[in-house]
Symmetry: D2
Subunit: 365 residues, 4 copies
């Protein structure tokens, strides 16, 4: 079975290559009766759009979305929502030298090995541009979730070795769009920015960590034992290019904790039993606990660097050097913020419907 | 959509509760013509069986598998393979006090919130005993993969804060079953065992890290962009109870690396271009690179501890104390080794068939 | 992708061969809080059980069901329900001659071609005995649906060329279990029985038609455009061995009708717009109309006949004769009644959950 | 789970409404290395395009396809293929009167009941225009299958009560595009055309039967027991609007046959055992037999008729009359020929990949 469909009850199919005609997504499973306009989508696409600051690629794309189906008189109809964004600033000629030489750290060589052919222009399907479909669909998921009091947001907690200090949810909501590295600790943001500049200057790149939070998730969401909420989130986030690790709550730190430290005791709150602390990150036994969902991803440094690297010529089947010219981001985590939010929102929309918390047919009944 | 089915082309359905009649699994998608006997399954079940050492629960179960279908005259037929293990040492009465009081760190409260009812006996479906089905199916996947030169093995690399030193694949293969904590660094194993004893003495528990390796995986396995090999592995591993993090290759460490450090350069080897190093952990762009697949999971300390904890009475809707009596493991990672191997093997069997590398119908044609 | 799983939100996996150890099913997706006992299942299995009259095979099986999981203190828990029936009257030796010679009209030869191996004993997986899992799962679906006012029942409308006269739903409910051919027109039933006796006397077999009805299905069930209710029903019914045709409402007769005859006009009833007639058979545009769902299947004559037929020796790769000895039904439609009901009930349970009409988690909230 | 995705290993997602901006499809699972151009798609779309003769609606659409992704330098890449057709001759205002009054025989009322909202313009999603996506995807499936010697074709065998005489496969291939009713018996075609004219003159419509044939299908395709080839075909064909019945081979006629008549004896041919006759229609036990696959569908008369019919006003919740004005086909079967072919081709492509007969990754390896 091929792999371009994600989700079960809220299912998306993304399509498109970096330098093909367009990229897009079809969503199957949006309940009828949700007010939806291009603006809802565009504001999220604008957050992931390139060319906005010194931390992203200078490729200039307006990334204007067109909704082609599934919305009638401003409202979803329950039918599939097809959306596309035309590729306008494509510059495929700039990639001619990649036809023969796969870039280290990129999927080029492995697409070639898998399919026996590849669209080498800007990575083709494996380009970060593929995430446009994810973000467009994520915008719909976020809007849907907002009707149920669920909010998903993310921030950069570490970049190039600089760690952010502790921040509150309010800090994140207020600060994250105020600086190009999307760090809610504004002082750390400055130091992160320094790291980006230094890496760029060296023709190198840096990695980091993004934390994603979802508030308002009701208890009991998730489908044991393989469709657990954390399993779905892990798949969703790991499916984003450049992500090499996913953790929930205390995450890898739990390996050094004792049960008596890790366990979140139960207390009564407003007449309901709830966990008092949130080492679990909002998920236990694959089910949401009612506390905020907290997860983090490790994002590797951008593989496209202008430093000389060793690679091979596929035509000659011999070793050669490569300098990856052209437009690329010196670091990925800041632009990954809306993408990671989208993936978590897609999982939550899917799981809310699967669990019967959102009516799959309609708001209007 | 409910969640008890895993995989696409090699699909398993697990069923059963800790203190119900039996636990089991049905596998749909094993090609015909594979020699298979109870022994192939039993040897893996014996590795996860409780009561084998001081690091595991004293619950005594022989965990004897019965193959009920899909095998004819010692060979798979292409039809579903149903396997079960009867629960013999069930002692449900021992859990009566849990009917009212959910255990911190366990799924009890959240099953109750989701389903409005729960089988409280030993955690019911959320018990580690559910992994019997996974391991039985994993044994079939491993045997299938072995015909294609793929081997999956795992070891404990950290336990209670004790980290293992560097070990070779040979060390792992040779040492891991020699000590009860399944650590390939035998000196570290001693210190880990000390930690287990200390925790047990304190009525507490400890967490750790398990590393899973798969060798022999050909390049190009994985289905972009949502069925990527790492996405499937992340879901598979995160779906195991107590796992709070998954990382591939350099994992979270990549957040502190530069592109020039992280990227694996390509070199020619035996006339084929391959990565020279393996920071990627055998997966780039969601596709296998041909190098060993390397991933790690963070395993939280066993939530069942005999120390007094705070919880709530569901009947009284008031706070109360709980001491989790009865049989439980002081640490989970050693017993998780065969489970984690199984999940990776299941993903690989699935992806090998999906990618056309294993014929889905039969070996015999 | 293999094929032994059916459904999406109410999913079943069947397993087992005619002369293996057992046959069974796992259901994933039964909401918690449904009262369920062996008796609920057994009464349906008893309806499909062989050896009950002169129209069925004399193979004697008690077909006693065991529920192994997913039910706790008489109530479903939301966890998978595993059920099995042991094969007791298996007589595999009786089938030795089939090892070499495939039976015309049976799947023997084609399983051999597909899988390169087959369990030749009584057809193995392709035996009618496989339907035990379907009927056991169907019993759960029926019980679930009954809570929503949906009832599924079926009757034989034609057998060996004898057509039943018009009957009311009441006739069907009252008469269908009163005669071995399960025909609600008791006079036609007599003539059908004559046809069965004649065919049996000739060592031959006869085909027929079964009509399945579901009352109480609310309007709007079905998932356009590929998960339409009629598409799912067609797949469900065509997946039963020996079924060669499926029709809904006017069915094939619609080919000879005009639009003005076929269209069901809308009228107001109790303040709601509804179709006045039911040529559509309760489904338009893939959605239920609120009127009774009516469908029919064409069932071929039992392929196992004792008359001499021409076949081939697989060992010798030459033509030879075959007489299918042993126990078999002279006609299938009467025993197919509970099977066909089950498949329609499974589709309806699935679609009711998919459409949000049944809460997927629990009755108890 | 919503329903706009079809297939497993060759999966399509269709989207779009009759009078929205566009209609389209995304195919996930086309192996890399297939030569593909707009022309391959366009020639099939041209066969289903309206406005071509007196038997179809006068709506004039060029239905020009655009391939947006998944094809690079004339060859498929293994990535999703997105295709769309802009709606140009949309005339939504013509449908204003349908906002309030659902058309008998159409899905209007039931979309309203399901979703609480509907795009009333020309039936919205339930329009026959939705089949453009099916035919575009079917064109790719056909091209893929042609590389394996599989050909799918269809013809009208009955229309308005006129039955075609026996025709050979050659007759069908040669004659079907020679007359507007797509009947291979040219004399019957004349009489069918008379029936169409008469119905049109009366403001009425007529139904008919379409037979679909696939030659070259190898033996053993299909996935027991729920993914049987006939089950998938039944679902595929029944999912087309206006289809009320599906039969395979002898179909409903088998109800009147004896086992000794129905069974296809086995003979040796070119050293292989094969069925001598084809009452089975190329499928036994859900597996292809190697003989031509033959199936038929019953197509109801077009529900849009200009005769006065009774319906209801949804605003007023009272009964009223309706005359369905505007452009519509007086009969559907002729235009359904390419659609039905497409659905069968989609199933075969899917099952060929599922069975390992087509490499899912690439032709090029």
């Amino acid at each position: 079975m091929p792999g371009n469909i994600f989700g079960h009850s809220f299912r998306i199919t993304t399509w498109g290559e970096s330098h093909g005609k367009a990229v897009g997504v079809v969503i199957d499973g949006v309940p009828a009766g949700l007010e939806l306009s291009d603006t809802d989508i565009q504001k999220e696409l604008d957050r992931r759009r390139p060319g906005q600051s010194e931390v992203s690629t200078p490729r200039s794309e307006s990334d204007t979305v067109e909704i082609l189906s599934g919305v009638f008189e401003g409202m979803t109809t329950g039918c599939p929502i097809s959306m596309l964004v035309w590729n306008r600033n494509a510059n495929p000629g700039a990639y001619d030298y990649l036809r023969d030489i796969p870039r280290p750290g990129h999927a080029d060589l492995f697409y070639q090995k898998k399919y026996g052919i590849r669209d080498h222009r800007g990575g083709g399907r494996s380009s970060g541009r593929e995430t446009i479909g994810r973000v467009a669909a994520g915008a719909v998921a976020k809007k849907l979730l907002s009707h149920y009091g669920i909010e998903v947001f993310a921030h950069v907690t570490e970049l190039g070795g600089v760690k952010a200090g502790n921040v509150t949810f309010t800090d994140i909501r207020e600060n994250v769009e105020k600086n190009p590295v999307r760090c809610a600790d504004l002082q750390a943001a400055e130091r992160m920015l320094e790291q980006v500049r230094r890496a760029r200057g060296e023709g190198d790149s840096i990695g980091g960590i993004v934390e994603i939070i979802a508030t308002g998730v009701p208890a009991g969401i998730g489908e044991p034992v393989f469709g657990k909420l954390d399993a779905d989130i892990a798949a969703a986030l790991m499916s984003i290019g450049a992500v090499k690790g996913v953790e929930i709550g205390a995450g890898f730190e739990c390996a050094r904790m004792k049960g008596s430290q890790m366990n979140d005791a139960f207390v009564m709150e407003d007449g309901h039993p709830v966990p008092e602390t949130n080492n679990a990150g909002g998920i236990i036994g694959g089910l949401s606990t009612g506390l905020p969902l907290i997860c983090r991803i490790a994002v590797k440094p951008t593989p496209s660097i202008s430093k000389v690297q060793r690679s091979v010529s596929l035509a000659g089947m011999r070793e050669t050097d490569i300098e990856v010219r052209g437009r690329h981001d010196p670091t990925i985590p800041p632009r990954m913020v809306p993408v990671a939010e989208s993936m978590v929102a897609l999982v939550l929309a899917d799981q809310m419907i699967r669990g019967g918390r959102i009516n799959p047919e309609s708001f209007l009944k």
